[in-house]
Amino acid sequence: MKLKTLFAFSLTLFAAAVWADSAPKPPVNVTAITMFLAFVVVTLGITYWAARRTKTTADFYAAGGGITGFQNGLAIAGDYMSAASFLGIAGLVYTSGFDGLIYAIGFLVGWPLVLLLIAEPLRNLGKYTFADVASFRLQQKPIRILAASGSLVTVIFYLIAQLVGAGKIIEYLFGLQYETAVIGVGILMTLYVTFGGMLATTWVQLIKAVLLLSGASLMAFLVLSQFGFSFETMFSESVKAHAKGTAIMAPLAQKPDAISAISAISLGMALMFGTAGLPHILMRFFTVRDAVQARRSVFYATGFIGYFYILTFIIGFGAIVLLINNPNYFAADGKLLGGTNMAAIHLSHALGGDVLLGFISAVAFATILAVVSGLTLAGSSAISHDLYATLVLKGVRDEKKEMRASRLATICLGVIAVLLGIVFENQNVAFMVGLAFCVAASANFPILLLSMYWRKLTTRGAVLGGSLGLLTALVLVVLGPTVWVDVFHHEKAIFPFKNPAIFSVTIAFIGIWLFSILDKSVNAKAEEAAFDAQFVRSQTGIGVSAAAEH
């Protein structure tokens, strides 16, 4: 069978890439290698099982709609809790205490909004992607092109950030060369998505979420046990150990200027509204049966994610106390080995020796693989379901062709992501996650929200306002300090703020509003008239099952 041959071929390629790697190896951690291999074998087994159940586009995009609310909640948490947030936030808490907590909060506060405003109507109106909802009563072609562009930009930036991070972590933990690590991750994610579609991706997320939550729980438990389970004792020991002393219990910038104040507010907006515009998260709501399960999904997801951030916070403080006075974890120049992102990894060694280090390293690796798979699936769905099916097939349904397109899109995305991951190896890519959230907040979120709640939204308004939001976000990030100064090495940024969301989100909303109310076309009238029927369906779910069959 063709499928089988391709599968075996990619696996051989993967094995060969790892084999041929001649990087100098650090001492091999047996637990890490065993667990990592076990994870790869189990997930490939699941992919093989899922591949035989992935026959239609409904299977590929939405796992046939048969995921339960609890499973989906865990899978959403799996999609959202990236290695970047696990290692990154623990590292931020380790270096600056309270400021790390701010990031954790920002990543969580979007979730109640997803539950209250987005999840149920999204499930009631859509089928596979959020573009289904945005284009429900508007013109298919322009809205889908815009929504797919917003999705793809978000996915690509997010993917580059994750892949570069992955390459660095694997290079450090397993002693593989950077390129080998990125290619290996790229091949595995492409395999999961191409063959197993949403079903395999969901199960990869579930396993990863359980591993990550149990690993982080164990670490937090071990940390707290050192302090008699008292936060107060943990904080007072941390303040004693940390060079900045009690300053880590409050914002480090005690006299912020206007620019950093506005940047902070702007980042807050990007994180809060961006969460509700992430295509790989929105897509998850179509894997459950109905709005009730969608609601349940977010409830569980918020619980898991909030719990996880509390754990990372504890881990960060544990790292302050247990690492800072231990020279084993520092290089000769006084820096933490592998950079501050490695704080959680070193802490696992300090707490449980090589065994726990191996376990947490393998968990970090599983986390990376799961997140990039979810992103790749969202990207390929935008290409095949929103662009190919609407523009090339012109809305005439052709299961076979659309399936082929989605698999081809997955492979192309995998190749592009790996190439970009290699190109960006030595760039600081931390800003890319911020940029992904900013684009999601400035383009995807306003279009989606207003299409569901604002009667007077028209195609022209959505397209012009949404594009303005998208372009403003991109242009201002390039002209801002993170790209203009840090990447292009100019002396001074043209746009002074690190995060443009406060401007780009506002511009998107004003643009959509203005161009909608100025739109006096016949289309605009018809689109307004179609709102009532759409609203009834979004609120009650009546008409949903009928739509899913056709």
Binding site: I102, M249, Q254, A533, T540
Partner: protein, 102 residues
């Protein structure tokens, strides 16, 4: 009247949209307000977050920060409880009546 117009005229449907409005907007504003209150305090009055809660080291900022994480979980809990108790029964009646209207 079309089927959907008939549904939107049902008393249960009107009750449903009212019930949703009553819970969704206040809770959304409660989350947005709490978060931006914290962000604005960080931006303009950072010193106030450094003062200790009791006589110890734990600061107001840390307590508020962890508090907001729990607050988000509580908000989702309140909404789900309300949705199960009030919104779901209405939706079920509407679905039944909509089936009969066809």
């Amino acid at each position: 009247m079309s089927h959907l117009e008939q549904i939107s005229a049902l008393p249960e449907y009107i009750a449903l949209t009212r019930a949703r409005k009553k819970i969704v907007w206040p809770l959304s504003i409660a989350v947005i307000a709490a978060y931006f209150a914290l962000i604005l305090t960080i931006a303009f009055y950072p010193a106030s977050l450094g003062s200790p809660v009791a006589n110890g080291v734990t600061s107001v900022g840390i307590a508020l920060g962890l508090g907001i994480i729990l607050y988000c979980m509580v908000i989702t809990g309140i909404y789900v409880a309300y949705a199960n108790g009030v919104i779901e029964p209405l939706t079920r009646v509407i679905a039944q009546k909509a089936g009969a209207l066809k």
